[in-house]
Symmetry: C2
Subunit: 208 residues, 2 copies
């Protein structure tokens, strides 16, 4: 549903001044009550405004209509990202697995001694490594990790839906959210299929 | 956006007979054109109908407004579920891990010799088992799996959003979709955070 400029103006007026009578809205726009009637009817029917007899119009705060899709299209990674869990590249596979369990995450990000991203460890990487009958406390994670530049990353300003598409296309559970620095990428967050599932549930609960 | 009964009727008429003139719609409802005008204006603005001069009204097929949320609320598991990957309870952990990689899934469902669900194997279960320095080809999966009744299941008639909520609440990646039989639960599908992420992406792409 696309609103006209005038309808947008009405919503703004009611948001700031509601409850407010139709007369009063008309005055502020220098229009007649009659001219506004269809707009007010539409805004009320669409759920943007509500009207109470002898009180006036007030803003429902509802995200009417396909505003929902519009909203969804504008979500950014930073609004939904989780805290990243990182290990350094010389940590053993055994310790990495322990970290994964303690932190209850599905993916670990690997950084070098300057704290820049150098790799990603998925649960699959860890399972594969641990099947090898080797001593897991002897193998450093940099041997088994997926390394730069074969890592898909995103930034906190990226659109949430672009990140979701990356997760699907690359068939991965998680993306590191990074910030570019002079000598590499700093890991500032993670965005996962769990975040996406929560967004889906939240869309309907209206608590986003 | 809630439509009135009359507006719903108008949509039905246009769906079946469009393109159709306003006159014609009014005739079918035994109303005057003037009476219908506000309804037609609202339906057009909201994107349900479109009007072309000298042609008339036609149905856009667009899911207007919060129809999107309404639609989302009605999605069922069966419309989005994936094929389940099952192993029998006497299979070794080693073979289960191999199956997980070959089938490229994050969760395996474990069935007994009657093909009824008895357990679930997550990647975490498999990592934990493979850290134990034991011979993985000697340990049957029923030793390490999460077992009934500690398994959260759903049916294909369940609402997708209920399944999504279960995934979040129980902190799991996947639910078995089951069908009740006389002696147990048959596994007929799986629904995962990947499915949920795809739904999220699809909502905006409008390809659901």
């Amino acid at each position: 549903m696309e609103l006209s400029d005038r309808q947008e103006q009405i919503i703004e007026i009611v948001k700031e001044n509601g409850p407010i009578t139709g007369e009063n809205i008309a005055d502020r726009l220098s229009l007649t009550r009659a001219t506004l009637r269809p707009d007010l009817a539409i805004l009320t029917m669409a759920g943007f405004l509500d009207a109470r007899p002898r009180v006036g119009y007030f803003y429902t705060g509802k995200t009417g209509s396909e505003l929902l899709t519009e909203k969804l299209k504008k979500f950014k990674v930073k609004e939904f990202q989780s805290i990243p869990v990182v290990v350094t590249e010389d940590v053993s596979v055994y310790d990495a697995i322990t970290t994964m369990f303690l932190e209850d995450v599905g993916t670990l990000f690997v950084v070098n001694n300057q704290s820049y991203l150098v790799g990603v460890l998925s649960r699959k990487d860890l399972i594969r490594a641990s099947m090898g009958n080797q001593d897991l406390s002897e193998i450093p994670v940099h041997i088994i990790m997926t390394r730069m530049p074969n890592i898909t990353v995103c930034t906190k300003e990226d659109l949430l839906l672009e990140a979701a598409q990356q997760l699907i296309e690359k068939q991965i559970d998680s993306l590191p959210v990074v910030q570019e620095k002079e000598n590499g990428l700093e890991v500032v967050g993670r965005i996962t299929k769990t975040n996406m599932t929560k967004v889906l549930v939240g869309l309907v609960r209206d608590d986003l």
